[in-house]
């Protein structure tokens, strides 16, 4: 278990506490004078970064109305959070043990609340101010099936859109979640938007005058974002069609044209994601995103996630090459079909 306790925020600690909602990342950047710059003069975003944090996308119910907590409150929250989510606990009976079978050794899901502008945040969502994903439109409510099975949350976390239906369907590979098929990372790790997940929260950024490339550890996806002013293309992609531009010292990445199979928390093919990367210090980037999909949500919504420099290495997440998980799931389902068949046969004969 890798514990990272150091938040390099000395520079930001003196920054004035700003309103959460609608705050411009550029305002934060102006308080830092000495950000590294690339040869072309733009801020240098390069390096190895992590977005790991225990701050969830949505504010937990027990912190309702409390967007920011004090240092002492944050420490208490983290202590309790790490205790309740400890996968090495064996005090919950057999079912809980099965859910915790991916034990703590494999997890790297953070130990601290996210800190932005010196504030310890209780949700990544900053707009709406209640820290919750806004209400679905009537159209989306009809489109999106009911609540997901609860146990999926044990594997990947409740923020994981992969836990939405069709989780629980086993007839063929196409019904299985995209992450289980090794097509995309779970939990929107590759995004966009790029969210922290249970482990492998590493991103390597390489930047040239015409491109910014973000290598996402899961599933070895390279997001190659042109910054040469070209318009969006017409081809739908798993990672969407991204184009970037510099607005002052902020890289703005605009993404549309996701493949219809890609759904971020129920989004439709009209999903439009605007990401902003602002280098806020020697060891930090402020990453913000806005979700714009009027066919799914009643309003736009935005989140802020700190990226912190890390000395970790990024390994090759070769997923499909030994995907015995998917094979096992389907094989198990077919074995169950067969069992059901044979258990029904004797009854038929008795009649």
């Amino acid at each position: 278990m890798r514990r990272r306790l150091v938040f390099a925020l000395a520079v930001l600690a003196s920054a004035p506490v700003a309103q959460l909602a609608g705050q411009s990342p550029r305002a934060a950047a102006t308080s830092t004078q000495t950000i590294p710059r690339a040869p072309d003069g733009h801020p240098d975003l390069q390096g190895m970064w992590t977005n790991v944090t225990i701050t969830r996308l949505e504010r937990p119910a027990e912190l309702k109305g409390k967007a920011v907590v004090s240092e002492a409150e944050a420490a208490a929250y983290a202590k309790e959070y790490l205790k309740t989510t400890d996968k090495d606990r064996r005090d919950g009976g057999r079912r809980a043990d099965v859910e915790r079978a991916y034990n703590a050794f494999f997890w790297d899901s953070g130990t601290e609340l996210a800190v932005v502008n010196g504030q310890r945040r209780t949700s990544l969502i900053v707009d709406p101010p209640d820290g919750q994903v806004p209400a679905l439109t009537a159209e989306a409510q009809k489109r999106i099936p009911g609540p997901r099975p609860a146990w999926g949350s044990a594997v990947t976390g409740p923020d994981d859109p992969e836990n939405a239906p069709p989780f629980g369907l086993y007839e063929n590979p196409e019904e299985r979640p995209l992450a289980e098929r090794c097509l995309l990372a779970f939990g929107s790790s590759s995004g966009p938007p790029m969210l922290p997940i249970a482990y492998n929260n590493h991103y390597q950024i390489v930047q040239t005058p015409g491109y910014v490339m973000i290598l996402v550890e899961m599933v070895h996806d390279a997001r190659i974002i042109p910054t040469d002013g070209r318009p969006h293309g017409n081809t739908r992609r798993w990672l969407g069609d991204s184009v970037g531009r510099w607005e002052g010292d902020t890289l703005v990445v605009d993404t549309i044209n996701f493949k219809p199979q890609v759904s971020f928390r129920g989004s439709s093919e009209h999903l439009h994601v605007i990401e902003r990367f602002t280098r806020t210090g020697a060891n930090t980037i402020l990453y913000t995103f806005t979700i714009d999909d009027p066919t799914t949500w009643t309003r736009q919504w935005s989140a802020e996630i700190p990226l912190r420099a890390t000395g970790e290495r990024l390994f090759e997440y070769a997923c499909h090459e030994a995907n015995y998980g998917l094979e096992g799931v389907l094989r198990g389902a077919r074995a169950q079909d067969k069992d059901k068949e044979t258990s029904e046969q004797p009854k038929a004969k008795q009649k």
Binding site: T208, L215, H220, D221, I224, A318, H320, E321, E327
Partner: protein, 277 residues
Amino acid sequence: MRTAIRVAAAITVAAGLTLAAARAGQPSARAQSPSPAYAAPRAPDGHPDLNGIWQAVNTANWDIQDHPARRGPVIALGAAFSIPAGAGVVEGNVIPYQPWASEKKKKNADSWLTLDPEVKCYLPGVPRATYMPHPFQIVQTRNTILMAYEFASASRIVRMTKTENAPIDFWMGWSRGRWDGETLVVDVTGFNDQTWFDRAGNFHSEALHVVERYTRTGPDQLWYEATIEDPKVFTRPWKMSMPLYRRAEKNAQLFEYKCVEFVEELLYGHLRKEDSK
């Protein structure tokens, strides 16, 4: 249009040279060695600028050795997906297999469709990723060079400043780079034994060591060499080389070829519930 003509001309010239060399009984690869006369544009750090989207225009992914045209494996696809002839990219056209390995190569070729990792959409390894019929993109900076391949969304990072040995094994290997004058030299180790060199069954073990050399030889051309060393499979090191061409069309870009979804029926179809779609 002009670019297309230029690339076409380059291909013609290269092909012509290969044929001429073959006729003269010389190792074909040597005849095409990079011209030292070309002065490559510079990256901000002063090294040659290799940034761009590149692609091999040859049939090496079918067979890295000389090969005639032959019918493809799927009768229904006829002429559309049969196998083109091509000049090999291996220096001297000989791959120095140990006797057991030579046998294994033949068996691999006989069972190409069931054994070739490309068919299953597995990460292609190095050097094969370079000359698959898909483009790849070089994103070059001083400390880090990314090579992203369209096939299977494969990628690798070339570490220019780190000397650490491969910490584990990788499908795409562990790449460390350095500049040798005008040439980017990439030393690749840390492979597994699962990848092939081509669709003809040429293979290696986990002891594979590849030294690649990338040299700008023109505005839209790179010269690529790979020296292959694997004492478990070959009797001596051997070398392949080829030109790579810039995808110079307007709006050239790397698309996604996430082939996983194209092979699910092949790999898991037998586990599909009957009649389920």
